[in-house]
């Protein structure tokens, strides 16, 4: 199951009120490195979906959330836990490095 798209409007219910920690991939069509990271995020959704909700937010179509969270570079991966930002990963990384960075949420 690939990462599920999420919009500005869905943010409160899908992210802030989620019981599970949520990983959100901030991306855009024109961002080359995002195209490299997105398939890895899909794999994370596949393999860790029981521990972590995995969503993706298109910043072109949903600028408000990106602005609210001060996203100034993509790809950015955000982990939200209990409605609060718990982790921020800026820039493209490989699967092994991402899993290491997200270790606390995957265990």
């Amino acid at each position: 199951m690939p990462a599920t798209p999420v919009t500005d409007a869905q943010w409160p219910t899908e992210v802030l009120e989620s019981d599970l920690p949520v990983l959100i991939d901030f991306w855009a069509e024109w961002c080359g490195p995002c195209r490299m990271v997105s398939p890895i995020v899909d794999q994370l959704a596949d393999e860790h979906g029981a521990k972590l909700r995995v969503l993706k937010l298109n910043v072109d179509e949903n600028p408000a959330t990106a602005r609210d969270y001060g996203i100034m570079s993509i790809p950015t991966l955000l982990v939200m836990k209990g409605g609060q930002e718990a982790k921020r990963i800026v820039g493209a990384k490989g699967k092994a490095q991402l899993e290491a960075d997200l270790d606390a949420f995957l265990a």
């Binding site: 855009a28 024109w30 961002c31 080359g32 490195p33 195209r35 490299m36 890895i40 910043v59 072109d60 990106a66 001060g70 996203i71 100034m72 570079s73 993509i74 950015t76 800026v90 820039g91 493209a92 990384k93 490989g94 699967k95 092994a96 490095q97």
Partner: protein, 315 residues
């Protein structure tokens, strides 16, 4: 010992992928270690561009990431395999060559093609690292979007600085080019285009000595006049670096010869390095042209050189 690959290619830009197409078609079953973050993004610098209009064969131009994806598929079609990882260490003192990856894999190669490219040079000033991705960027096409109606600075005086500044005026209300000297390395046409743009201003004879921030975002730069030594603050919301590139050679720990600027030295017109069985292509060995098409050209040469060298080995 795990079986040695005939050819391992380090890098997944136009040089590495062209080498892969040729090596695969020569039945060498190349393994491309794509790299992820250490040397820049997978697919290389082209993935950070938009329209590529000077790569022959695409009369209407093509998007950089799409061009790279096409090359990758072409390499895959002839039997190239890919490992999406960074190599973290190399041992080139004995054959087969040994490589270790970030996830701890050990790889062995009879021949090695180095196509690790180059990555953007940083200023190495206080504040730069802490604000990287929070207003400091080396990729206008990736991050310009987040500076709508803001004031951004582009640091540099070459073609890429002029190009980034012009591109950023699509979003930013004001762009200031900060450059250490009064003269530009950029071509006259690019400088004129920037000068004619009324959203672009220039700060010349100015060096950035610190990136200033508050609450995790950039608020300005501390500039030093390179003539008088005077310091002053320039308020801005972001800083884009366009001050050249550094070839990615740290992996080889001095085992491969480099020139004064850090580029790998090859035995022109071949792509042989000082270590027999190791070949280099693309931006890591080219400080002169640095184009997608020249990188592809040297990638082709490296694959042919590697193929001929392997054929001459007895084992």
């Amino acid at each position: 010992m795990t079986d040695a690959h005939d050819v391992i290619i380090l890098g997944s830009g136009p040089a590495g992928l062209t080498a892969a197409v040729y090596a695969a078609r020569a039945n060498l079953k190349p393994l491309v270690v794509e790299g992820v973050v250490e040397g820049g993004p997978t697919g290389g610098q082209l993935t950070l561009t938009t329209d590529v209009e000077n790569f022959p064969g695409f009369p209407e131009g093509i998007m950089g990431p799409e061009l790279i994806l096409n090359m990758r598929q072409q390499a895959e079609r002839f039997g190239t395999t890919f490992l999406t990882e960074d190599v973290t260490a190399t041992a080139l003192d004995a054959r087969p060559f040994r490589l270790s990856t970030a996830s701890g894999q050990d790889l062995h190669a009879r021949a090695l093609i180095v196509a690790t490219g180059a990555k953007p040079r940083r200023l190495d000033v206080p504040g730069e690292d802490a604000l990287w991705g929070s207003g400091v960027s080396a990729c206008a096409t990736c991050d310009g979007f987040f500076f709508r109606d803001k004031h951004v600075v582009v640091v540099g005086g070459g073609d890429s600085a002029m190009e980034e500044a012009t591109f950023l005026t699509k979003f930013a209300s004001r762009v200031t080019i900060v450059h250490r000297r009064e003269e530009f390395r950029a071509s006259a046409i690019m400088v004129e285009r920037a000068q004619r743009n009324d959203r672009i201003a220039f700060e010349l004879n100015a060096a950035v000595v610190e990136v200033l921030g508050a609450d995790g975002t950039v608020t300005g730069l501390l500039l030093e006049d390179t003539v008088t030594g005077e310091r002053r603050e320039l308020a801005c919301d972001g800083m884009f670096l366009a001050i050249g590139h550094i070839p990615n050679t740290s992996l080889f720990d001095g085992a491969l010869d480099t020139d004064g600027e850090g580029y790998l030295v090859v035995d022109e017109p071949s792509t042989r390095t000082n270590i027999e069985g190791v070949f280099a292509c693309g931006d890591v060995m080219d400080h002169t042209y640095r184009q997608a098409i020249t990188a592809a050209g040297t990638g082709c040469r490296a694959a042919i050189d590697a193929e001929r060298w392997l054929a001459d080995q007895d084992d």
